[in-house]
């Protein structure tokens, strides 16, 4: 009798759920977006999500997924609809999967000839990455000019875990494809790249060194809130040059010391990328128009980064604050 009661109540719960469901409101348009794994990307994505949800009547499901080729394939397969702020020099799938021109300010900044399984539009953010050392280190060692002097000072950069080599607080996430160790080896820098798993872990490590006044070498990018509080100097890696054969398909065959990854990063016109079937369907014409028009600026992102990174605001609150204080985004509406 007790068990039958349980079974019946179980069935009844399911039935009642259908009843309530039919009364509930269904969302007209539903998209899934991947949440980027660095703060700047999160802000850009939240800007897009806030506008889609609040102005264009979308419901966006935010999925936490590590960036990298896996994410590109998930978008091509339609499991995720779009992702934000990809940096072309980090993306390895862009040449293979995008088949269109990347336009910034009416100018073509990069053209792609892939298979067309991904579409991409610029976000407006222009990024720059480098290796940095603290300014107090450069001041104390005037004969430190650029990256080629790193070996002379490697003892100061070493710690227990790297032994006799210097330590680079490297790109924290494997899926970002920074090739830090490869770059160090090709350039003959006797350092070990340490991968700490998350942006915040890398920054915490760097902040600890900075507060103690120790020399350290840090991979970082601009815009970033770390530069607000701490004075850092770039090590001026060699200027970027592409290497055609350095891809997964060619088993990462490098081009020696002259080209990527033995060089610094290119200037990145970052892009939002999405599933073409989704974005080109008439149902999502509003979203397409928005993504084409979106032009978020470095200065705005930098301000919000400080709010999030230093003032401890949540990304949602920082974006809401920005959205209420300016009308800039109204120009991006369809």
């Amino acid at each position: 009798m007790k068990n039958s009661l349980f079974l019946k109540s179980f069935v009844a719960l399911i039935l009642s759920s259908f009843l309530v469901l039919s009364a509930g409101t269904a969302y007209a348009k539903r998209l899934t977006a991947a949440v980027p794994d660095w703060t700047g990307g999160e802000i850009t994505c939240q800007v897009a999500v806030a506008i889609l949800e609040e102005e264009l009547d979308y419901k966006i499901e935010r999925i936490v997924f590590p960036s990298g080729t896996g994410l590109w394939e998930a978008i091509a397969a339609g499991d995720i609809d779009f992702a934000c702020e990809s940096w072309p020099s980090y993306a390895e799938a862009d040449d293979v999967m995008i088949n269109m021109d990347l336009v910034y300010d009416g100018e073509v900044v990069k053209s792609y000839n892939g298979d067309g399984s991904i579409n991409a539009y610029t976000t407006g953010i222009i990024g720059m990455s480098d290796y940095y050392v603290p300014k107090y280190f450069v001041d104390a060692n005037p004969d430190f000019k650029d990256w080629s002097d790193l070996n002379k000072f490697k003892d100061q950069f070493a710690n227990a875990e790297t032994g006799s080599k210097g330590k680079l607080i490297g790109c924290p996430v494997a899926g970002w494809n920074c090739h830090d160790q490869k770059r160090l080896d090709l350039l003959g820098i006797d350092f070990t790249a340490v991968e700490l798993g998350t942006e915040v872990a890398a920054l915490a490590e760097a902040q600890g060194h900075y507060d103690r006044g120790e020399p350290f070498l840090l991979y970082l990018w601009e815009p970033h809130f770390f530069f607000g509080k701490n004075e850092m100097v770039g090590v001026k890696l060699p200027a970027h040059k592409d290497c055609e054969s350095f891809t997964e398909a060619n088993n990462w065959q490098d081009c020696g010391t002259a080209a990527w990854p033995a060089t610094g990063w290119a200037m990145d016109y970052t892009m939002n990328y999405m599933n073409p079937d989704m974005i080109n369907s008439p149902e999502h014409a509003d979203a397409l128009a928005f993504f084409k028009k979106m032009k978020f600026s470095n200065t705005d992102q930098a301000k919000m980064l400080v709010r999030v990174g230093d003032d401890g605001l949540s990304v949602e609150d920082a974006v809401a604050e920005w959205k209420n204080s300016t009308n800039e985004w109204k120009a991006w509406l369809p």
Binding site: S17, V64, T69, W72, A160, E161, T198, A201, E248
Partner: protein
């Protein structure tokens, strides 16, 4: 004379043996050190093997082939599951929080009484009060749907197993494999066939959590006594009638137990499924870990813990029979029933009894009126039906009251006044306080010097030398050592298997990573012993300490395993040392438990004999109790090793290295072959060590005559 000589010979033989084996081991160790110092770089498999054995490429080609051929079907399945999941999720998110809470509390009230209902009410309120209501609903939806599907499919498979011996024989190895595999390994193929998000998470969870329900359904049906079945047949029941009217109802307690286990396993995996894009509490915790937000991660972890305990208690309440009280004794609602000998307890409980009676009276009255209305309406058409339905309603007054309350709430919400989302003012969140506390501690110079000291000591004197030792040791030497070890402890056949499995790992070109994983597992197990055994000894002497221990260990085993990353991150930041520490925290419970068990199992006669011969407590412990507890300790070693291996898959999140990192890199690069090879590598290493240590336990037991 001959007798004396014989014994003499035997002792000689024994002493020879006593020296030969350790001697050989010593020589082997010295040789290995020599080899390590000889080698210039980490040992890698010869290139002609790794280049020819392109397992990764084969898997990826296979994936490409399957993508073309069967992907449409698997995607169709996942589309259905996704639709169901969205429906359930929308339902939970759109209904007011009062409705969902009532939905959880009312069945709890029915089966577990006021105590359970209060607990569940507080648990559900906690989700809201820390601002994780939506995530909790998403986790609930994922778990709910996977449990429903697992139960449906599992019960059917269980019935099939119980009906056909051949089917059962076929299922057994499948079920064994399903339970041995670390849960995370399911996620990779699930992503590969079913995509990203809720649907693959549900399907992977089904695979992981189905074995107990299949086993227990099968067992329950098979345990129905033959006489009962014969009686049913004698009364002319067909086979189907016997099954559905006799066997399955009698097997229900066993099936319910299976459901309970399924729920617990589903919850564990649903949280982990955030790595393939599933939403919910798991992703909240992951995001918090990514931001090093200790407070938020801790709150998320607590929500999961509460959810697990809630469902566990509820499941136990449903499947346990209520004890019937003698008619003259007073029923207790909050206090333990055994306290009814105390008059004060009886006075406290008295008004509760009246309240209970009062509510029963009111609700049964309402249902009676409702039942009367329904039956008189139906009696216009058919008198017989009206009577049965009226009776049915009156008999299930509690259930129908519950339904009425639920409808009342949803009517109120939709038509009178929207209840809306969880009130933000009801806030019990302590994440800021915790984060602030941690922050103040981590800038404290003394604290920093202590943690840095521990960190660099462990890294310099343990982690780095051992990593170097294992990675620099030539692969053929390591393989030979493990093969001889498994030959000596298990047997020739397993030795051959070991050789093949290790050769597979080497041929996949992940030998160095595998050795790093092995080294961090072995070091964490070593440290687990150093910390766990003293705690176990202490607990076996003090009852109170043991009680505290039990509670803590129970909680530790219910938490999903990446919650352990949080406290470590808190104090030590990211890095290999933190990964090691998280592994220790996760895998220490079995060693403590089994030390306690081993020591308390030693019969008191032995210790009494020892004491009467004048042995001190320390002597009794080290000379009598400890040797007798060895099999139990080895068992603990075995479980600890398995858990440490399982942990290797999540430690890359805070800077762990080795095969776990390979799995992550494979996932991030969508390189299924690479992720699978590394995942399988972890499984194989775990399997080899598991078999060797199990065989060793058995030998120890036999030697001690247990």
């Amino acid at each position: 004379m001959t007798f004396v000589e014989e014994t003499k010979f035997q002792t000689q033989d024994n002493s020879l043996k006593r020296f030969i084996v350790p001697g050989l081991i010593l020589v082997a160790v010295i040789l290995s050190f020599f080899l390590v110092f000889q080698s210039e770089d980490t040992s890698e498999f010869p290139e002609f093997v790794t280049d020819a054995f392109t397992f990764t490429a084969w898997v990826n080609q296979g994936e490409d082939f399957l993508k073309v051929t069967i992907k449409e079907y698997t995607r169709a399945i996942s589309a259905y599951v996704k639709a169901g999941y969205f429906m359930l999720e929308d339902f939970l998110l759109d209904s007011s929080w009062v409705f969902v809470t009532a939905l959880l509390v009312i069945p709890a009230l029915a089966f577990g009484g006021i105590k359970l209902a209060t607990f569940i009410l507080l648990g559900a309120l906690y989700w809201g009060m820390v601002g994780l209501w939506e995530s909790a609903m998403e986790t609930l939806a994922l778990m709910g749907l996977s449990v429903i599907l697992s139960v449906i499919v599992g019960v059917i498979l269980g019935i099939m197993c119980s009906l056909s011996d051949r089917f059962e024989r076929g299922m057994k190895p499948v079920l064994d494999t399903m339970q041995v595999m670390p849960a995370f390994v399911y996620l990779i193929p699930a992503m590969f066939f079913f995509g990203i998000g809720g649907a693959p998470a549900i399907l992977a969870t089904m695979i992981y959590s189905m074995p107990p329900i299949i086993r227990l359904t099968n067992l329950g049906i098979r345990q129905v006594p033959n006489e009962t079945i014969e009686t049913a047949t004698a009364f002319g029941s067909s086979r189907a009638q016997t099954l559905f009217k006799v066997q399955i109802p009698l097997a229900l307690p066993s099936i319910m137990m299976g459901v309970n286990q399924t729920i617990m396993m589903a919850l564990a995996l649903v949280v982990l499924a955030t790595f393939i894009g599933a939403q919910g509490l798991g992703s909240e915790i992951w995001v918090a870990i990514r931001k090093l937000d200790v407070g938020a991660a801790l709150e998320g972890g607590l929500c999961v813990l509460l959810m697990a305990i809630m469902f566990d208690r509820f499941g136990k309440a449903v499947s346990s029979e209520h004890d019937t009280l003698p008619s003259d004794s007073q029923r207790f609602y909050i206090l333990p029933q055994t306290w009814d000998i105390y008059p004060i307890a009886r006075i406290i409980e008295k008004p509760l009894g009246y309240i209970h009676f009062f509510f029963t009276f009111i609700f049964s009255g309402i249902v009676r009126i409702f039942g009367f209305a329904v039956s008189s309406f139906i009696s216009l058409f058919n008198k017989n039906y009206a009577e049965t339905i009226g009776l049915f309603l009156n008999n299930h007054y509690f259930f129908f009251t519950g339904i009425l309350i639920l409808f009342g709430i949803s009517y109120y919400d939709n038509n009178v006044m929207a209840i809306g989302s969880f009130p933000e003012t009801w806030n019990l969140s302590f994440r800021d306080e915790i984060s602030a506390g941690v922050k103040s501690l981590t800038v404290n110079p003394t604290f920093i010097s202590i943690t840095q000291g521990i960190r660099s000591t462990v890294v310099i004197y343990l982690l780095r030398p051992f990593d170097m030792y294992l990675t620099y040791l030539p692969y053929w030497y390591t393989i030979a050592a493990l093969v001889i070890l498994s030959w000596a402890s298990v047997g020739l056949r397993f030795a051959i298997t070991t050789a093949l499995l290790l050769a597979f790992i080497g041929a996949c070109n992940i030998w160095t990573e595998a050795m790093i994983t092995l080294s961090s597992v072995l070091i964490s197990v070593l440290l687990c012993f150093l910390i766990g055994v003293p705690i176990g000894i202490l607990a076996s002497y003090s009852k109170r300490f043991q009680k505290i221990n039990e509670v803590v260990l129970d909680a530790m085993q219910t938490l999903p395993y990446f919650c352990y990353l949080v406290p470590v991150l808190m104090f030590f930041g990211g890095g290999t040392f933190s990964a090691l520490l998280a592994t220790i925290i996760y895998s220490i419970p079995p060693i403590i438990r089994l030390t306690i068990l081993g020591l308390s199992q030693v019969s008191s006669t032995y210790s009494e004999v020892s004491t009467s011969f004048g042995g001190s407590t320390l002597q009794t412990l080290s000379k009598i109790k400890f040797p007798l507890a060895v099999p139990s300790l080895v068992m603990g070693f075995n479980q600890t090793v398995m858990m440490a291996f399982a942990m290797q898959i999540v430690t890359p999140l805070i800077g762990g290295k080795g095969l776990g990192l390979e799995v992550f890199n494979g996932l991030a690069r969508s390189d299924t072959g690479r992720a699978l090879a590394a995942g399988v590598g972890i499984c194989l290493l775990a399997m080899i060590i598991d078999r060797i240590s199990l065989a060793w336990t058995k030998k120890q037991r036999e030697a001690l005559g247990l």
